[in-house]
Amino acid sequence: MGQIALSVQSLRKRYGDVVAVDGISFEVPVGQVFTLLGPNGAGKTTTLEMLEGIRTPDGGEIELLGRKLTRVDRAAKQRMGVLLQEGNFEPYLRVREVIRLFSSFFDRSVPVEDILALVALQEKEKASVRSLSGGQRQRLALGAALVNDPDLIFLDEPTTGLDPQARRNIWDIMADLKSRKRTLILTTHYMEEAEALSDDVRIMDHGQVIASGSPNELAAGLGQETILEFSATGAGAAAEKARAALDACCHEIRVDADTVTAHTMDLMRAMEELLAWSRQQQVKLSNVVVRQPNLEDVFLSLTGRTLRE
């Protein structure tokens, strides 16, 4: 493992009776993309806010870029870039003015033109913030987080609420940062985002880390399983009846309206059983998908819930 950009030990935060972060620990080597994955309320944002200096931890240790801190100070912020989950810009400012304003807060800063090019907003440099689309605003926010050429970049759910194209644009910028050996700390509840970008993932739930590893390692943790998904329509509760039909050859069978998701170690047998049952019961099968497990399945397997619940 190379040089450590961020090390967290037994980090804790409580709001009244609610334990938001319950003693989590992790290390992030320089140049890696580290992802906290989990549903809303898992404690991802609180963890990030403690690392960004917004919240004061109730306990634990933070070592950030080689400095041990009880809370993040001004010197640490000089080397950090933060894309907050929530936040706006002055609506009457123009794009170039926002970048220039944020550049003025740091001892060192990248030329405004370079930032505009990085987030592909050169053509919008004179546009006011209020005239930007959601995706453009998020790129502007990312630009404002990168004005100081930070060594450590925090991205709190950077693509939430964006359309697929805007999300892809943000991913491209993040991939570019990764190629420049910047250290990225990412939170998301989009498993495809974590899978596409992450070197290391921590899955959080109820303030604790419940699984860790690379996306491939986590998926491999489910063994040689295959996921079978289909929709069943016919007389009565067809999908529910399908559960019974697959019970002998599948496990973790989940029914959501007409859609059935089942894990199996014997795909051939499961398919035969399913087709035989559908012919016999005259149930129509559609949207049949056979795939390998992903992080969503890992989370489901660990908690019995989906990431979006």
């Binding site: 001004r74 002055e90 944020f102």
Partner: protein, 401 residues
């Protein structure tokens, strides 16, 4: 320093792009100035009763006594001869063995300065003799001294009314001695004596400093917390939180931008007052400018204080409204505050507007001072220091969660 200047520039730039801010900074004080000038310059209806002190310095004399005729005229206009709507509420303090006439005149001047009187009329010694010389063809005229406070509208109006009364008395006196000539110079001359130097000041001269201070008060009390809390409620300030920018440096930059806008605001109001409404008050002098700067800083600090205490924008506006009324109306911005109940007097004493308005008017020659010089600096200074200390400690970048 570049962070502070950037915050200041952002404040100024966005203010000029946002109509609401521009309205409160420029349009509102200008409208107020125009409206108040139009409404209060027309004071002088029949229902006005002027508080006047009449002092006779000249001793009574047997036979023809012109001073006595003057006294009787004012007594008659005070309801003494059954006038339904008296013009004057007349007091006639007389000299005694314990109190010489000079002390009495000085005491009445003090009442005039305090707003208890609208005018002091003195019939000086030698008045009758001078008058008789003029009516006999001599060059001396009988001089009646009229003291008014040119900083107050009612006092100025009292001056005009007394002038008309004295002109009538002059005509009657000349007719009494059989030498009335409408084309001749008057025999009774009103000597204008003001407790202040500068003389010919109008209501606009009293109003202009008040509107300036009121303009700073409005944008400080409402505009400052409004924009800070708006920014906080909508997550604008959250973005600053994760940068090295500290709250005190943000407040410094914000204050610098606010000061810039207030200077522009003051320049526009002064130009309109001077060239549009004929004000002649001397505002562009170092001491007056110091008080105007002190006023900007005081209300800016109040704005920071409100922003740091309120949890939401609407909460901030509620606090601003609560503070605005007593600050505006119990600070002598538009009217001299005369006799008020003790509770209100306490508010006046802690109200920085009282000191700022007086400081501006006193240094610009509009009004004589009633508050010690040191207090006009110390009271607003204490408010600035206290408010900024609290704001720098309490203001948060985000709504508390």
């Amino acid at each position: 320093m570049k962070d502070i200047l950037s915050v200041a520039a952002t404040y100024v730039v966005t203010a000029f792009r946002e109509r609401t801010t521009l309205f409160w900074f420029l349009v509102f004080p200008l409208l107020l100035l125009l409206i108040l000038t139009m409404v209060f310059s027309g004071i002088g209806s029949n229902s006005v009763v002027f508080d006047v002190a009449l002092i006779r310095e000249e001793a009574s004399q047997p036979g023809f006594d012109p001073a006595h005729m003057v006294e009787e005229a004012f007594r008659g206009l005070s309801g003494g001869s059954g006038v339904e709507q008296p013009l004057f509420e007349l007091s006639e303090p007389a000299a005694s063995a314990d109190e010489p006439i000079s002390a009495i005149i000085e005491a009445q001047h003090a009442r005039l300065r305090n707003g208890e009187l609208d005018a002091v009329i003195v019939i000086p010694a030698g008045f009758s003799a001078s008058l008789l010389e003029r009516t006999a063809g001599g060059s001396l005229a009988g001089e009646i001294q009229v003291w008014v406070d040119t900083g107050r509208t009612t006092s100025e109006l009292a001056f005009d009314v007394i002038g008309q009364v004295l002109a009538t008395i002059d005509r009657e006196l000349q007719m009494a001695v059989g030498s009335y000539d409408p084309s001749a110079e008057p025999s009774v001359v009103m000597e204008t004596v003001s407790p202040l130097e500068g003389g010919e000041l109008a209501y606009i001269d009293f109003l202009l400093p008040g509107v300036l201070v009121m303009g700073f008060l409005t944008v400080g009390l409402f505009g400052v917390p409004g924009s800070i809390l708006y920014g906080r409620d909508r997550g604008l300030l959250r973005r600053y939180w994760v940068t090295p920018l500290s709250v005190p440096r943000y407040l410094f930059g914000y204050g610098l931008g606010h000061l810039t806008l207030c200077v522009i605001q003051a320049a526009v109001i002064i130009l309109l007052g001077r060239f549009g409404l004929g004000a002649s008050v001397r505002l562009m002098q170092p001491a007056t400018l110091l008080f105007l700067l002190l006023a900007i800083c005081t209300f800016l600090a109040f704005g920071f204080l409100i922003a740091s205490l309120a949890r939401t924008e609407s909460g901030g506006m509620a606090i601003a409204n609560i503070l605005n009324m007593p600050m505006m109306f119990l600070g002598g911005l538009f009217f001299s505050v005369g006799d008020v109940p003790i509770a209100l007097r306490v508010i006046m004493l802690i109200n920085p507007v009282t000191y700022l308005a007086e400081g501006v008017r006193r240094t610009s020659g509009v009004e004589a001072g009633t508050v010690p010089w040191l207090a006009t600096l110390l009271v607003p200074g204490a408010w600035i220091l206290g408010s900024i200390l609290v704001a720098a400690r309490r203001l948060s970048w985000d709504v508390e969660r």
